[in-house]
Amino acid sequence: MIEIEHLTKVFGTTKAVDDVTFRVEEGEIMGFLGPNGAGKSTTMNILTGYLSATSGTCRVNGVDILENPLEAKRNIGFLPELPPLYMEMTVKEYLDFIYDLKGCTFPKTQHIKEICDVVKLGDVYNRLIGNLSKGYKQRVGIAQALVGNPRVLIFDEPTVGLDPKQIIDIRNLIRMLGREHTIILSTHILPEVQAVCDRIVVINKGKLVANEKTEDLVTAVDGSRKMIAKIVGPEEEVVKALGAVAGIRSVSVLGKRDTDSISYLVESEDRVDARKPLFYTLASKGWPLVGLEGMELSLEDIFIRLVSDQKKNARNRKGGEN
């Protein structure tokens, strides 16, 4: 559906995107992950025809964005980082304008009404966009991308600056849209891609770092699990006892955070669930386990791993050549 090959974009002397290649299959929701300034927006801007690539090709539905831009753009709905809204228009006027702009042919009122139902814009249909809250503006931006029923949707950080409830709403909406559209979703929030995406492409400093199924990437990187255990018992003995449990790699004391229990950071071996042996060991000693939580793997963790892997590989390759 979307094919990006050897895409490179140079701004002056900096390479914003450096030889990036990936594909998105029909019906897939792809998470496009990277820290700020990694080249996500640039890639998306090239894909939508807003910028031109220095080299490389972008094809949407088999149509090259450079060779046949109008045809390719018809297949794409794009929500840029900042929703492109005219503040002095009402939602209705704005969507009517988008409809005309995209030169749609199906029945206008019905089509726009359907979109408003999907993104829940009914309440504000006749209000000025400038007076809407940020969450609603974001929805108008999404509605704009949906006009014309494009097969590919590209969302650039759609949940930035929204409150938690709005974030959940937008995520649900994207998941729902994913049933009928191919979606690229850029973000720098890991739980977001875990919640929504089938596949993750990670880029850093313009270079492709990973391109994998969501579960594969998370488990591959998250090989060893960390958890925080709150245990009531003598500190040194607990550390010793837990250290001896099969499947636990290391135990360290985090300190006293409650009145009676002590918190420990427990790291298990790769791909081992150490929670049960942990519990039985503590139970047999008569030390109550009053709390146990898994540590969420953060984007930083993934990054540090992926980037350091990349460096290692590069070194190995260099070593091989020598």
């Binding site: 807003y50 031109s52 005219y86």
Partner: protein
């Protein structure tokens, strides 16, 4: 293209800009008209009225053009327009024609002034028509200049000020030329001078080369505007 044209036209009248332009145009033109013809009790100096009006374009036209592209760049709606299935030329032309329409309509309303002349005398209709055509075309060319300058910045203020500067320079060329010591340079400058081209109209005749020149000037700047967008995409 039509969608952009329609939206732009509407935007002139949901913001005060369109009203300010129309109001100022009619006020200034009305006063000039009064001083040059009604107060003089003659239509002899009618051409002067048109010349003054052209001078006033330096202030009036930038009002109309400063927002056209600069504002889209500032509020990022540019991204919407450039990723929509519309060609660059279509987008730029939509904007240009919207400004041209407002200008044309105001000009039409303004032409009511001349009806008054017929009530009190027998003015030279051919001369009036020639002047109207010439003035209108100069305005159309200046709109293209303003459009071009608006595409270079995201600040309306800079767009307006630079448009005023460029248009004033184009007009002043007429007065500067006589101080140029070299004959060959004088004739080159005269060839480019908007006002020099206008002189035949003032002598009540239609100058085809001038019409072609003004149209080319408009086309050139619309083309340059398209090139600005094309270039920016690649840089």
């Amino acid at each position: 293209m039509f969608a952009i044209y329609k939206r732009e036209l509407r935007a002139y009248f949901v913001t005060p800009l369109g009203y300010i332009f129309c109001g100022m145009f009619l006020l200034v033109s009305g006063l000039l008209f009064y001083w040059t013809t009604l107060a003089e009790q003659s239509t002899e100096s009618l051409s002067e009225y048109f010349l003054y009006l052209v001078m006033m374009f330096a202030i009036l036209i930038p009002l109309l053009t400063m927002k056209l592209l600069a504002d889209d760049r500032r509020i990022k709606t540019e991204q919407l327009l450039l990723t929509a299935p519309v060609s660059l030329t279509g987008m730029v032309m939509g904007k240009y024609l919207a400004a041209l329409t407002i200008y044309g309509c105001t000009f039409l309303v303004n032409s009511f002034n001349f009806v008054l002349l017929y009530l009190y005398g027998t003015p030279n209709t051919a001369a009036i028509l020639a002047n109207i055509l010439g003035t209108f075309l100069i305005g159309a060319a200046f709109i293209a200049v303003g459009l071009f300058l608006s595409s270079l910045t995201q600040s309306q203020l800079i767009a307006a000020v630079s448009s005023i500067g460029v248009i004033v320079a184009m007009l002043l060329l007429f007065f500067v030329i006589e101080y140029v010591p070299y004959a060959w340079l004088r004739s080159v400058l005269q060839w480019f001078s908007v006002v020099d081209r206008y002189l035949p109209f003032m002598n009540q005749s239609l100058s085809i080369p001038a019409v072609v020149y003004y149209l080319s000037l408009a086309a050139l700047f619309v083309f340059l505007t398209v090139r600005v967008y094309d270039k920016r995409r690649w840089s």
